[in-house]
């Protein structure tokens, strides 16, 4: 953890990529560990926090952590090729290094989730930070009630973490719903297991939701939030128990560069996880 008065606030440590694989054509999964003189560095974080990753010569950008803090040592990211930094990251091979600062941001309020039922809603790449939360909850299964996970994607080819999710479908530890905007299933293993439609279409299938003991976590493209929140509010889930993880442009991660400002707050400091109550308070949050 960075100290508030660290003279190296903006200086990344070096991480080595130990493995990577493609989750879909333009999203790659990276596993990395502190390298060389930083080997002893312990990186503690919460699900929902993010890191600033530097790719040599291409720059620095914010990325959600995808690994759960319950599995120590290796930090994982799911990264979409979408710009300069990510293009450079996609050229890296195992053993290559990247720079890392963080973790930053508030993360999901685990303390408010303990003992509660969770409804976790992911759209597209939003599954990346939520994976951290889901795996954390599964690793501490006895500390949570029901775990309901709704994951929507454009088409089957863009479904991330598909193998582990297919396993989860058979698990009694988690109630998983997969849905694709366009569900053309070629592979037998997906047959009858993925619905067609948007994540909001799943809510009618959710039974026995107890709003008094339910906390929701949502992450997806900007257009998704409003519709999902409306569905969650129909279940009478408290506005301060609906948590949204938001994306913004960030250059520093520590509330100084200004790019992630919304009204009077900085997403990197007070977010990226906000409650729906915050959304009511603040202009232009979603």
């Amino acid at each position: 953890m960075k100290l508030a008065n660290d003279p190296h606030l903006y200086t990344p440590i070096t991480m080595r990529i130990i493995a990577k694989r493609d989750l879909c054509p333009d999203v790659r999964f990276f596993q990395m560990v502190p390298a060389g003189e930083f080997k002893q560095v312990k990186i503690d974080y919460k699900p929902g926090q993010f890191m600033m990753l530097s790719a040599f010569g291409a720059g620095e950008g914010p990325f959600s952590i995808s690994s759960p803090p319950s599995r120590k040592g290796i930090i994982e990211f799911g990264i979409r090729k979408a710009g300069k930094v990510t293009e450079k990251l996609f050229t890296l091979r195992d053993g290559d290094t990247v720079g890392l600062r963080g973790p930053f941001g508030n993360g999901f309020p685990i303390e408010k989730m303990l003992g509660k039922d969770l409804i976790i809603v992911a759209g597209g790449l939003g599954v990346v930070p939520l994976r951290s939360l889901i795996l954390y909850a599964l690793d501490n299964r006895e500390s949570f009630g029901r775990i309901i996970f709704i994951y929507g994607f454009k088409n089957v080819e863009e479904m991330l973490f598909n193998e582990v999710l297919l396993e989860m479908l058979d698990s009694d530890q988690i109630e998983l719903y997969l849905t694709a905007d366009k569900c053309e299933v070629k592979d037998d293993k997906y047959k009858g297991r993925i619905c067609e439609g948007q994540v909001t279409g799943i809510f009618k299938d959710l039974k026995n939701i107890d709003p008094g003991r339910t906390v929701a976590a949502v992450c997806g493209p900007p257009v998704m939030y409003k519709f999902v929140v409306d569905k969650l509010l129909e279940f009478n889930i408290g506005k301060n128990n609906i948590f949204l993880s938001l994306e913004r442009r960030m250059k520093c991660g520590v509330g100084k560069c200004g790019h992630c400002s919304i009204d009077y707050i900085y997403t990197c400091m007070e977010g990226p996880v906000f409650s729906y109550w915050d959304v009511i308070h603040m202009r232009d949050l979603i």
């Binding site: 508030a4 390298a35 040599f56 979409r80 979408a82 250059k251 100084k256 200004g258």
Partner: protein
């Protein structure tokens, strides 16, 4: 607080004293424009409110966090913080509004996380404020930033034949001790009378009739007044000059530059502007503030409202730089006027 008197005849002698504390800087007129510049001889040194030029084009922030600087040196294996080699500086001639601006920067850069680059330069900067004669664009009396109580090391009030000097810090006291024989601690009733009179006279210079009452509420209530924001959005050139000259604009961008044929590079940090199209744009192309109107609204939210939630006061210090700088007359005066449902505008001459 300690107060001293120094005769104007002795002001040049202070150059040798100040030099012991660092490079001496002063707003100087160069080719018609006023800019904070280093001075090398006592001839140019003055603390006079009529001689020091008003409103340097860039405020003090240009010395505390320069427009661009190198933050890191890196190679493929390692990132290293770049040495800043910051000189010690004594900056003479900051007006109350600009010192208020620095106080806001201090709060901003040293709350929660402390910006190491800011702190290093700030620590090495001695601020000697001077009194000023407001012009028609100044409105610090309306933003309560015309009187300064903290943030300076010394503050010179120009009372005609002599200065009345407030000591604002331990370093300021060190300067007084160093120039001991020039300062007089005997503040007579005559001097006190002079000061009270001078303050009254100075107050009368203000002609700017901007009315800040209720502006924070209006920012909130008229947030969705599209007509108002589009009126300004249609005019805005997205040139970013307003944010460069504003004493309390702090946004920066960061970019990595590589050296040709060397496996090393530098991470450069430079002033950014929320007026630029990609200010809120994320990788992949989604832009959270696509229109000029949205971006202007962010700026004015920040200046007139947001800082109150964060630090207790708005972040406009009434220096008037936006009024004299914006080529299409989008400025705090005109925005406040429209927020109040008025159409009167203050146009720079």
């Amino acid at each position: 607080m300690r107060v001293y008197k120094i005769s104007k005849q002795d002001e040049k002698k202070l150059f040798k004293v100040l030099e012991k504390f660092g490079e001496v800087w002063l707003p100087v007129k160069k080719g018609g424009k006023c800019t904070f510049s280093r001075i090398y001889s006592e001839d140019r040194l003055t603390f006079s409110q009529t001689e020091i030029c008003n409103r340097p084009l860039l405020p003090l922030k240009k010395l505390l966090l320069p427009p661009e600087f190198n933050t890191l040196d890196f190679n493929a294996e390692r990132y290293n913080r770049a040495e800043q080699n910051v000189p010690s500086r004594v900056v003479v001639g900051s007006h109350a509004c600009d010192i208020h601006g620095v106080n806001i920067l201090d709060k901003f850069y040293t709350t929660d996380f402390i910006d190491p680059f800011y702190r290093e330069r700030r620590k090495k900067t001695i601020i000697i404020g001077t009194s000023c004669e407001p012009d028609e664009y100044c409105f610090c009396n309306k933003t309560n930033t015309n009187i300064i109580e903290e943030g300076y090391d010394l503050f010179f009030n120009d009372l005609g034949h002599y200065y009345l000097v407030w000591v604002g810090s331990s370093k300021g006291d060190d300067i007084i001790r160093e120039g001991d024989d020039l300062f007089d601690e005997n503040i007579t009733d005559k001097i006190i009378g002079d000061f009270i009179n001078w303050r009254k006279v100075n107050e009368n210079f203000f002609t700017n009739d901007i009315d800040f009452y209720g502006v924070t509420d209006l920012m909130e209530l008229k947030y969705n007044d599209n007509e108002l924001w589009e009126y300004f959005g249609d005019k805005c050139l997205s040139c970013g000059q307003c944010t460069m000259v504003c004493p309390t604009c702090t946004c920066f961008n960061v970019i990595d530059d590589l050296e040709v044929n060397k496996n090393e590079g530098h991470r450069r940090r430079y002033w950014d502007s929320c007026m630029f199209k990609d200010y809120s744009m994320v990788a992949g192309g989604h832009n959270f503030r696509k229109t000029r109107a949205e971006r202007l609204k962010l700026w004015y939210t920040h200046k007139l409202k947001a800082f109150i939630g964060q630090f207790g006061n708005p972040s406009c210090v009434g220096c008037g730089r936006c009024i004299v700088t914006c080529p299409v007359d989008i400025n705090v005066y005109n925005v406040v006027s429209r927020l109040k449902g008025q159409e009167k505008e203050l146009i720079r001459k």
